[in-house]
């Protein structure tokens, strides 16, 4: 039933993506903005401070916010042009209902009633869990909290998960195991004070550009830089040591580095004895991972692995940063644990200029994973299967703990359950799975099987084209709230303008639905600030304790680092000082990691490794950035990056179109022949839909602990297309 409601061309013609290039009325018309609103960029986890220029109640531009300490006015091109998502011709302005051909208008009351009627009908026939909810990590903390409460108390389904499942969960699960808390261990201000920066699997310059300057400020003091990445990214180009790891081999490499560190006497035995447990097993495990034994598998000469280890041992203070490059794997959690083993064994954490962090990717990738919109989680980063945690939250919510649903499916599992008919209804907010989930063909088949799908969104995303009902929600700059940045700093998102037309703030839509679902008294919020106050109260005593944070305090302090357990508590920029970790016994945990190969390895039929990632001018599934003209023009369409040696073997020249195939599907795109990638690896950025989607090739293989997909390794083949001049398809 849920095939797109009209031919694709018609939907694109009506709802986009179209490209916006100028503020309303042109650049000259915005000469005298009425006000500047201090807020943050709507895109990545760096959450740069920006000022939105507002004129005649419309967002007309951006002015750097030089006083905000994290970025001091610095912005990437997305931050400069982000304002163009407002006043956009594609903006959804009315609730839409599927008709025989496309969508037609429907009054709000009828639309909201329809959601409740159809969801309840499905639940009556097929059980409460036959309806799922997908939400997102670009939502504010208030909305993330609200979605968790909405799923459990209003809809009554256990199947709620978020798109952070594609982003932060491997790092989160590993941090929780090792440290008992899931947050960057150090504020970014510690990076410039370090002596060695080790970056693994993070294209810092394109995915977290502001971090580039932090790293350079360390280098300006003489610090060294090591980068581990199969692609020679801009941050890697000038590195002191670059390790071009073969995709999917990170844990073997990290074990070998630790092997050499141990042999070179780099272990901080006092720290290990006083502040950790489990080192002996790690010692026994990494003993077998000598640089010589792993060199061929990881694709790096043994001498370079030794060099990295020696640099690590020699540096008094180190800062290890990693991101999705080591986390998007079926062993994402293990890769992260192997990083943490290195940090713990050498005692290089919890000190000024010395520490560790994952670089959270999504706008609220940190806060969005703490307040209960995950399938296994309750607010305060509590465990939905822990009876004491359930009892606490149930008491705060005024319900019987037995009525709280249990652990549900992860986002990819939800899509699989839709595909097999177990889940029949879906409500989504801030998630575009048709572009972002692996194996896009499978995702499309699943969406086509939905019996009732409601999408809350500001643009008609590729996924929302399949919806029965589309409710126009709010852009980031149309609502108040907070997010928590990659540093663990809780900051304020401010409303610059009202939602246009009939569009409504997301939280109002969710609360209105909750009323209709019969849970109104638990959703009687008059403002996002009231939601925050409840969130802070409920989080008290949890790992992610926000109970001492208020909006006023955030504004006064330019952000508050959680945990902040009391009103007079200043917040906690640096974790683990004095070697005190968040487990009950205060000790960090080592986890011995045995290397395992990726889920799909290359063979004669599919001899190349595909790895996917981002470009600086686009963000995630591109729902916003593919509608911003200047950003689209920076990198208009995906290309497959390949080394000249591989191109020569395939008789392919730069710019020629090729077919890239995997066991899941194929796509045709231009070759980008560059000597800045391993010759056995090709790269495609993932921001595009349909026939340009890298996720036609990726596969549904997941980390067993975190459920994160293996976006970074798939086996593919490349064939030259025999049609010269076919480049003008776009």
């Amino acid at each position: 039933m849920a095939k797109p409601s009209a031919p694709l061309e018609e939907l694109i013609d009506r709802y986009g993506p179209h490209r916006s290039y100028e503020p309303p009325g042109g650049f000259a018309a915005r000469a005298h903005p009425d006000r500047k609103v201090k807020t943050h960029c709507c895109f990545c986890g760096q959450q740069c401070g920006v000022q939105l220029l507002v004129q005649d109640e419309r967002v007309v531009g951006v002015e750097p916010w030089e006083d905000f300490p994290f970025n001091g006015g610095k912005l990437c091109p997305k931050g400069v042009k982000r304002y163009l998502q407002n006043n956009h011709p594609d903006r959804l302005l009315q609730p839409l209902v599927r008709t025989g051909n496309g969508f037609g208008r429907i009054p709000w009351d009828e639309a909201l009633d329809l959601v409740v009627e159809r969801v309840r009908r499905l639940q009556a026939r097929h059980g409460p869990d036959s309806v799922a909810i997908l939400s997102g990590a670009s939502l504010t903390n208030e909305k993330a909290y609200l979605m968790g409460k909405f799923a459990r108390l209003a809809v009554g389904t256990r199947h709620l998960d978020y798109n952070g499942r594609l982003c932060m969960v491997a790092a989160g699960a590993a941090n929780l195991k090792a440290f008992g808390i899931d947050r960057a261990a150090n504020p970014w201000a510690d990076i410039p004070a370090t002596d060695l920066v080790l970056v693994l699997g993070s294209n810092v310059s394109e995915c977290s550009p502001i971090t580039t300057d932090y790293i350079w400020r360390a280098r300006d003091r003489g610090a060294k830089l090591i980068v581990v990445d199969p692609r020679l990214t801009p941050i890697a180009r000038t590195a002191d040591l670059y390790l071009p790891v073969r995709p999917g081999r990170d844990s073997a490499l990290l074990n070998a580095i630790l092997n050499v560190v141990i042999r070179r006497g780099g272990v901080d035995h006092a720290f290990v004895a006083q502040h950790t447990s489990g080192f002996d097993e790690v010692l026994r495990t990494v003993e077998r991972y000598t640089p010589e034994t792993v060199a061929r598998e990881v694709g790096i000469p043994a001498a370079r692995i030794v060099e990295a280890a020696e640099m690590w041992v020699q540096a008094p203070r180190t800062f290890l940063l990693h991101a999705r490059g080591i986390e998007h794997h079926t062993k994402g959690v293990e890769n992260v644990l192997a990083c943490i083993n290195l940090v713990l064994a050498t005692g290089k954490i919890g000190k000024p200029g010395c520490g560790y962090a994952t670089i959270t990717g999504q706008g609220n990738g940190q806060g969005g994973r703490e307040h209960g919109q995950r399938c296994n989680q309750l607010p305060g980063a509590r465990d939905i299967e822990n009876p004491a945690h359930r009892a606490h939250v149930a008491r705060m919510w005024g319900v019987d703990a037995n009525t709280l649903p249990g652990k549900g499916y992860t986002a990819p599992q939800i899509m699989e359950a839709i595909h097999r008919g177990e889940i029949r209804g879906l409500i989504s907010l801030c998630f575009n799975p048709l572009v972002s989930l692996p194996d896009a063909t499978f995702t499309r088949e699943a969406l086509e099987r939905l019996e009732f799908y409601t999408a809350i969104d500001f643009f008609l995303s590729e996924t929302a084209r399949h919806a029965d009902l589309v409710l126009p929600g709010s852009l980031q700059e149309e609502d108040e709230g907070t997010v928590t940045s990659a540093e663990g700093r809780v900051i304020r998102i401010r409303k610059a303008v009202e939602p246009p037309g009939e569009a409504r703030a997301d939280w109002r839509i969710v609360c209105d639905l909750a009323h209709r679902f019969g849970a109104g008294e638990r959703f009687a919020f008059a403002s996002p600030e009231e939601i925050f106050r409840e969130l802070a109260r409920v989080s008290a005593g949890g790992v992610a304790d926000y109970s001492g944070i208020t909006w006023e305090k955030i504004e006064r302090q330019m952000g508050v680092f959680w945990p902040c357990p009391a009103p007079d508590h200043p917040g906690t920029p640096r974790l683990f000082e004095g070697g005190r970790f968040a487990h009950a016994d205060g000790r960090a945990r080592f986890h011995a990691v045995e290397y395992r190969p990726p889920a799909e390895t290359t063979d004669d039929a599919y001899p190349l490794i595909l790895t996917t990632g981002r470009v600086v001018s686009q963000f995630l599934s591109g729902t916003q950035t593919r509608r911003i003209g200047p950003l689209v023009e920076q990198y208009p369409e995906p290309r497959v990056e390949m080394h000249p040696k591989l191109a020569a073997r395939l008789h392919v020249r730069d710019g020629e179109r090729v077919r890239v195939s995997s066991r899941r599907g194929a796509l045709e795109l231009p070759a980008h022949v560059v000597a800045t990638i391993r010759p056995d690896t090709v790269f495609i950025p993932y921001h595009w839909p349909g026939a340009q989607s890298a996720n036609l090739l990726t596969h549904r293989a997941y980390d067993p602990v975190a459920g994160i997909p293996e976006f970074k390794v798939a086996a593919v083949r490349i064939d030259k297309l025999e049609a010269p001049g076919a480049a003008a398809l776009h």
Binding site: G79, E206, P209, D240, G299
Partner: protein, 200 residues
């Protein structure tokens, strides 16, 4: 004196400077900055080109309409709209390839160091947003104090030596840059280390 310092080593090619420049109310949608890959087939190295604000600007010397003026602070201004005839002499003469000609308006446009911002003590837009610090606005003392790289503002084109208000950052103290015929850029250590990658 506050100057713009350009460090190509730090540039990540993100084009934040280009996009920020195009936000200027005076030339909205049109950037005065060129951002180029040096040799993308072999390297990710990029380089921003902004007006160097020469002490004796060739663009002004060759202008038949006397449309290009230098202000008392040494900032070479964009062409005066009422004078410029769009002949393009300046674009041909500039040793750095900076001026752009808007053919329809018959007008040359170039960076005037964000006159609206720098005249009130703020950094130009490009240097304000640059996320890597490849574009830095400050004093000589500040940049010497903060960075290992050294500023350089003398360029020799054969026997023709040009002094500039803006400076480029170079790895070690150097008297001047000898700008010669095209040289293949030296490969970075990381680029050589990629060649060592073990593949099956």
């Amino acid at each position: 004196m506050q100057q713009l310092f350009i460090d190509g080593n730090r540039c990540i090619g993100c084009r934040a400077c280009v996009e920020a420049c195009s936000e200027c109310p005076g030339h909205g949608g049109f950037s005065m900055i060129h951002l180029d890959h040096v040799a993308r087939a072999t390297s990710v190295q990029t380089a921003p080109t902004v007006c160097m604000h020469c002490a004796d600007p060739a663009c002004a010397s060759v202008c038949p309409a006397d449309a290009i003026k230098t202000d008392p602070d040494g900032v070479v201004l964009s062409a005066a709209v009422e004078r410029c005839i769009g002949c393009g002499n300046c674009a041909l003469a500039c040793p750095f390839g900076v001026p752009k000609i808007d053919v329809q308006r018959e007008l040359m446009m170039k960076c005037d160091l964000c006159y609206d911002r720098t005249s009130i003590g703020k950094a130009p837009m490009c240097a304000t947003v640059c996320p890597s610090g490849a574009l830095f606005y400050g004093t000589h003392e500040e940049v010497q104090d903060r960075r290992l790289a050294r500023p350089l503002d003398v360029f020799a084109f054969g026997e023709h030596v040009i002094g500039t208000r803006n400076a480029v950052m170079v790895p070690a103290p150097t008297a001047k840059v000898e700008v010669g015929a095209w040289n293949v850029p030296a490969r970075s250590r990381a680029e050589l280390q990629l060649e060592e990658a073990l593949c099956d």
